[in-house]
Amino acid sequence: MELSIDRVSKQYRNKIAVDRVSLRLQEGVYGLLGANGAGKTTLMRMICGILKPTSGTIAFNHMDVSTEEYRAVLGYLPQDFGYYPEFKGTDFLYYMAALKGLTKQQAGQKVPELLELVSLEDDGRRKIKTYSGGMKQRLGIAQALLNDPKLLVLDEPTAGLDPKERVRFRNLIGELGKSRIVLLSTHIVSDIEHIADTVLMMKDGQMIWQGKWEEGAENLEDFYLRQFEEEGR
């Protein structure tokens, strides 16, 4: 299992959002750290096939990012997502299950399972517009897992979650990362410290550092800030 990102760039008129990023990711949890505007979300959108790179290629097990087969093994949680106003929690998951190619029977099994996993089993029949931010985020995590993805891309997944929910989420991601590639981006350094096996740091569209990070090693936040100072020299 390998996600191959080869010299991928994304350029707009007067800005390079992602600049020749190359990565090879195997099973495990990868934490993508970077300030606002570093290019994390742009990179993630290209990995999910919703933005086309200006140059470079992205492939999962030799399946190009633009193919249906690639999207069939992908689970994505965007930084911010909407919903159709008439949808209840279960309606949303059934709709996403249909888009992900699950049969009604498969969806019928997965939806209650995932609602229980994200502690929304009692709220599935309520309209999403009545949900709190944290509930909506948990619903987003549930939809990302519908098709049992081999590649899970989560953009700011812990935003809006309370500390207890964050701990549950970390444990869930730790389990998921054992048999799939999980790429998550966040501003919250402690999330990366606790969850990620490998840390990727971005600044101004470039990957400035990547490597294994073990809990108990140097404080990640200090290390992260030092990387920026070194880059600035």
Binding site: K10, Y12, A17, N36, G37, K40, T41, T42, R45, C48, G49, I50, L51, K52, E68, R71, A72, L74, Y76, P78, Q79, D80, F81, G82, Y83, Y84, P85, E86, Y95, M96, A98, L99, K100, G101, L102, T103, Q105, Q106, Q143, N147, D148
Partner: protein, 238 residues
């Protein structure tokens, strides 16, 4: 082996725990949904009000023709922009309600969703037009074919304007602008129907046919641009 023996064995020996259970489940070939099944399933996600709005001109036509002896062509022409509006706004729901990113990253991506909606509503409205043509011309000075052309002009004008607006204006602002465009076209038909009728009667069918062809070309062009737009996010703010 008799039942008693089986029960005795079951009680005497403990069944071993299943090994590699999860691997076994993951390797079972799963049924996959075909593209056709997916497109048909999208019909269930089109809002019910779109189907209700689509039936309204037929019912109106029936009422006017059978019970009021009224020339319904101009009434239906004034309603057609709202019919077009219901179809256009349904195609752009993903953008209006922020579902684009999720739909674009799914196996059946946003392009499939939009094409499914366009196809289903397109077929429905074509069937409606075929029903409306003979009904709307009953008390009219125009033939069924001419009535069809004039109804289509009203529909396509709203369609082209709506598609252009929603391609260029994001979110609910686009929706409001589309409603405004539909109201303007409808008002034009309602207020100027007598002058329009005289103009069309005097100038003949040819000009209307030319206008229809132009609108059809513009409509197809706008639809192609809309579908192309679903292949990539047009905006990226981070």
């Amino acid at each position: 082996m008799n039942r008693k023996m089986r029960e005795a064995l079951r009680e005497a020996f403990e069944v071993p725990a299943p090994a590699h259970r999860q691997d076994f489940f993951e390797n079972i070939p799963q049924g996959r949904v075909s593209l056709i099944s997916f497109m048909l399933s999208q019909a269930g996600y089109i809002r019910k009000r779109v189907f209700v709005i689509s039936l309204f001109p037929v019912l109106l036509s029936l009422a006017g023709t059978c019970f009021l002896d009224f020339d319904m062509m101009w009434v239906i022409s004034a309603f057609m922009p709202f019919l077009a509006l219901s179809a256009v706004t349904e195609n752009f729901r993903s953008a209006v309600y922020g579902m684009e990113e999720l739909e674009m990253s799914a196996r059946f991506s946003l392009k499939s969703v939009v094409l499914a909606r366009m196809g289903i509503l397109g077929v429905l409205h074509l069937v409606l037009l075929c029903l409306l043509m003979p009904l709307a011309c009953v008390h009219s000075i125009f033939t069924a074919a001419q009535t069809g052309v004039y109804l289509l002009i009203s529909y396509l004008l709203a369609d082209v304007m709506g598609l252009w607006i929603l391609r260029n204006l994001r979110g609910k602002e686009g929706l409001y602008a589309c409603v405004g465009a539909a109201v303007c076209i409808s008002s034009f038909y309602s207020l100027l129907r007598v002058r329009l009728a005289r103009l069309l009667y005097r100038s003949g069918f040819a000009w209307a046919a030319v206008l229809l062809i132009i609108l059809l070309i513009l409509c197809v062009s706008e639809m192609k641009k809309m579908v192309r737009q679903t292949e990539e996010l047009r905006w990226n703010i981070s």
